[in-house]
């Protein structure tokens, strides 16, 4: 054998086992070479692999391993020493690298493992967050639903819409199978199914209100789960096999206005409705907490919306009622107005129609009285006259009374002589009284003002009526009339709830008492005295004819004058006393001393005698001078005329009783003339009376006249009547500033 450095393998080269080893080594080498290639490829692909150095190491290790196995392919047969050397080198390197790698792996593998753990942890966390996000989203959506629901509910004030919307929206939001509302009935004993989402047929069924489940729901303000089998939840007919979904019930307070007036509106008087919500059947859904909360919130909102709707309904109802009442009142008022107008028209016509014949009768009867008559005829005529006078009075009274009753009568307030009124009344009743041999006495207390402001004619009517009654119903004895100023005590005594006299600065209360010793009346008849047409049964009817309208009218007049009238009697045959108190205004000229005061007021404007009265007219205007002169001549005066102030001062003398001065011409001063006349005659008592003739009676003119001392003012053009009445007043009452428009 050659001496070579060849190494000899132990086994023969062509042994089967050797062959298999050879093939395996080949494939191992292949695999070992391809693995790093794959590694490189994939690492290149992924950018974020933190352990490059490890891979390199690992790659080197594998390559070397592969190299080892590759080289060992040559060692199966005789091989040279070089091959062996290479083999050994390879093996040595491989050993080194693999040990280094092994050492490195000790550090790295725990790291890798922990990465894995962290990854798992993060995945779990992510899953959890996902879940929670889902939950939050659900809740937010629910919240949105609630807001929308509330908005829908509160946007209408119609109760029906509110409830319907609630049910519909709730059903939609919570995907309910059924949502229904039970309202309490009027009798308070039952709940009636009023609204239902899907089962309209069942609407109207009732359940008693005192079921334990209902009490349980009503006593708490939370949504409470109830059994699907309870009567309130069983709205649809039980059909077949199904697992009913969970049911929740919540109370809905029905609030009224009265509930808001105390702070705690959960008191016992609150009525509740019941809302039932059912989840779909045959599903595994359950009521979640947030869904229950949603239901409670909605129930509260519904309660508020319902209360608003109720309040609105009530106020609308009240308003409609008021409108109806208004319409009815209006119609009634118009009817009343029509009736009053018709009555007034009737009265107006009747007034004229009735009075005309009456006047004819009275006038002709009086004329006939003046002619030659036999005693019998005279008696007849007198009766006719008396009766027709009575009838005329009655007609007047009726017309007056109707005017009084509908309030259209107004008092004619003016200043008048109070004392004179009483004296006149006495004068009027004296004749009849003396025929009956009755003594009439009048007593006016000193503190009673002479002048007063009031309705003279009607006051006289009242006094005359009362005094006349006194005379009428007395057969003997005396009649006393006492008029005085009502003092505070007597005012208080006379007060009744209807009559509250109040003393004041501008008015005083007149108290009149008329006592007679005549027939009197039964105290039982007292209430009837002042009633219209009430007959007094106790009186004998001879010619008296009861009270008729007189006292009724008196009472009305007295009330108009803010007073009170009453009659007292101690009984039949004991006479009676009539009292009345009424308000009169205080007259400004109560203090004026009347020069020409005459105790007799001429009650009518009969033929006033001015014959020979010397008067002077001062007027620039020829025509009006002539007309005024004509007037005064017609009245019987002795008239002189002048056309200017100087002429006037020249001619005027004490003989002239009245001077008429035209003050309306601008530029000339009639006032100056007046002043000068007053000056001239200021010392003597009997100065001429001054009367201004003017075209306007405005305030300025009147004041001017008063200032210069003019006694009277007449508005041009002057009529006969005006002239006559002014002269009359002037001459009778003295310089009392008669202002006649």
């Amino acid at each position: 054998m050659d001496y070579c450095n060849c190494i000899d393998p132990h086994l023969p080269a062509d042994d089967l086992l050797m062959k298999y080893q050879y093939i395996s080594d080949f494939f191992i080498a292949l695999a070992y070479f391809s693995i790093p290639l794959e590694l490189i490829y994939f690492v290149k692909k992924s950018a974020v692999f933190p352990y490059r150095w490890v891979l390199v190491q690992f790659g080197a290790f594998i390559v070397l391993c592969g190299a080892t196995h590759f080289i060992s392919l040559w060692t199966f047969s005789m091989h040279s020493r070089n091959v062996e050397v290479v083999m050994t080198t390879a093996k040595v390197l491989t050993a080194v690298v693999s040990c280094a790698t092994a050492l490195m792996l000790v550090h790295i593998i725990p790291d890798l493992l922990s990465v894995k753990t962290r990854e798992l942890f993060l995945k779990n966390k992510a899953a959890e967050l996902d879940r929670e996000m889902g939950l939050i989203r659900t809740q937010e959506e629910t919240g949105r639903h609630v807001r929308m629901l509330t908005h829908e509910i509160r946007s209408t004030l119609d109760r029906h819409t509110i409830l319907n919307t609630t049910l519909v929206e709730l059903g939609r939001t919570l995907a309910l199978e059924e949502c229904s509302l039970w309202m309490p009935m009027r009798n308070g004993l039952e709940l009636q199914l009023s609204y239902s989402l899907h089962y309209q047929n069942s609407v109207g069924t009732t359940v008693p209100i005192h079921l334990p489940v209902i009490n349980q729901v009503f006593s708490s303000n939370r949504a409470i789960k109830v059994s699907p089998n309870s009567p309130v939840a069983r709205v649809r007919p039980l059909a077949g096999r199904y697992i009913p979904g969970e049911v929740v019930a919540v109370r809905v307070p029905l609030l009224h206005l009265s509930n808001f007036q105390n702070n705690d509106w959960q008191d016992l008087s609150t009525k509740y409705a019941l809302m039932i919500l059912m989840l779909p059947s045959d599903s595994v859904r359950q009521w979640r907490a947030h869904e229950l909360e949603l239901v409670e919130v909605v129930a509260d909102q519904v309660a508020v919306a319902l209360s608003h709707a109720t309040i609105l309904e009530e106020s609308m109802r009240a308003r409609n009622l008021l409108m109806e009442q208004n319409v009815a009142l209006d119609a009634a008022r118009r009817e009343a107005e029509t009736a009053i107008r018709a009555r007034n028209d009737f009265l107006a016509v009747m007034n004229h129609e009735m009075r005309t014949p009456m006047h004819a009768i009275i006038a002709l009867s009086s004329l006939m009285q003046e002619t030659e008559l036999t005693a019998e005829q005279r008696l007849m005529v007198e009766t006719v006259l008396r009766s027709s006078n009575l009838l005329a009075t009655l007609i007047n009274d009726v017309l007056d009374l109707s005017k009084l009753e509908d309030g259209s009568l107004e008092l004619d307030l003016e200043t008048f002589n109070l004392h004179a009124v009483f004296r006149e009344v006495v004068n009027l009743i004296k004749p009849v009284a003396s025929v009956k041999k009755l003594a009439v006495s009048l007593s006016l207390t000193p503190d009673l003002p002479t002048y007063a402001v009031g309705d003279e004619k009607r006051l006289m009517q009242v006094i005359l009526n009362v005094a006349g009654n006194a005379v009428k119903f007395s057969k003997e004895g005396n009649i006393s009339i006492i008029a005085s100023l009502a003092k505070f005590d007597s005012l208080r005594e006379a007060s009744t709830p209807d009559f509250m006299p109040v003393p004041g600065a501008n008015h005083f209360y007149l108290r009149v008492q008329v006592k007679d010793s005549g027939l009197g009346f039964n105290p039982q008849d007292k209430p009837n005295l002042f009633n219209k047409f009430a007959q007094n049964h106790s009186l004998e009817g001879r010619g008296s004819g009861g009270r008729g309208l007189g006292l009724a009218i008196c009472k009305r007049f007295v009330s108009l004058m803010e007073g009170r009238i009453w009659i007292e009697s101690e009984g039949l045959g004991k006479g009676c006393a009539a009292f009345f108190i009424l308000k009169l205004g205080i007259a400004d000229r109560a203090n004026e001393a009347a020069h020409f005061f005459s105790p007799q007021l001429s009650a009518n404007n009969g033929v006033a005698n001015f014959t020979g009265l010397k008067v002077l007219i001062m007027d620039e205007n020829g025509v009006s001078r002539m007309v005024t002169k004509g007037l005064l001549v017609h009245l019987g005066c002795d008239v002189s005329t002048v056309g200017s102030g100087q002429e006037c001062m020249r001619i005027i003398s004490q003989e002239h009783k009245v001077v008429f001065i035209d003050v309306s011409v601008p530029g000339t001063d009639g006032y100056e003339v007046a002043a000068r006349i007053r000056e001239r005659f200021s010392s003597s008592h009997k100065r001429p009376l001054l009367v201004a003739l003017t075209g306007n009676t405005d305030r300025a003119t009147k004041e001017h006249c008063l200032r210069v001392g003019i006694d009277g003012v007449i508005l041009k053009p002057v009529s006969l009547e005006k002239m006559r009445s002014v002269l009359l007043e002037l001459l009778e009452n003295g310089p009392l500033r008669a202002l006649k428009p």
């Binding site: 020829g622 025509v623 009006s624 002539m626 007309v627 004509g630 001549v633 041009k716 006969l720």
Partner: protein
């Protein structure tokens, strides 16, 4: 023409004067003042009115053609005319006078001239009417009748 017819014509005429506003209540007053003591009272007053008014109207015309019109004087004349016409009961004349006075206050020259025309017109109308009336009255008296009283 006989008395009754004359009287009827008189009554109708007078009534128409009242209705048309030429005469007013004051004229009735004047008629009332006529009695046996002053049988021609109305006649006299009416004549005086004619004289007075014509004088006043002349004065007015003169005053209004002045280069610078003295409104105070015009006003005074109109016032006089107003007084006369109202004393006699010439209603329309009086109304124009009232209007005239207002225009004088405003010192409106054109207005014054217009009013002047109106017054002249109204005056001539009422003068004519009154003259007719008086003539009727005289005819009645000559025929032996009495002048009827118109309410």
């Amino acid at each position: 023409m006989d008395v009754v017819q004359l009287q009827r014509r008189y009554t109708e005429y007078l009534t128409s004067l009242f209705t048309d506003g030429f005469l007013d209540e004051q004229f009735k007053q004047l008629q009332e003042l006529q009695d046996e003591n002053s049988p021609d009272f109305v006649f006299e007053v009416v004549n005086l009115f004619f004289e007075d008014s014509e004088r006043l109207l002349n004065e007015l015309a003169k005053a209004l053609v002045q280069p610078s019109i003295d409104f105070k004087k015009v006003d005074a004349h109109v016032h006089q005319l107003k007084g006369s016409s109202s004393s006699i009961g010439a209603g329309r004349v009086k109304n124009v006078c009232v209007a005239f006075r207002n225009i004088c206050e405003e010192q409106n020259i054109e207005g014054c001239l217009r009013c002047m025309q109106q017054i002249k017109h109204e005056y001539s109308l009422v003068k004519n009417k009154l003259e007719n009336l008086i003539r009727l009255e005289q005819q009645i008296i000559q025929a032996g009748g009495e002048i009827p009283v118109v309410e």
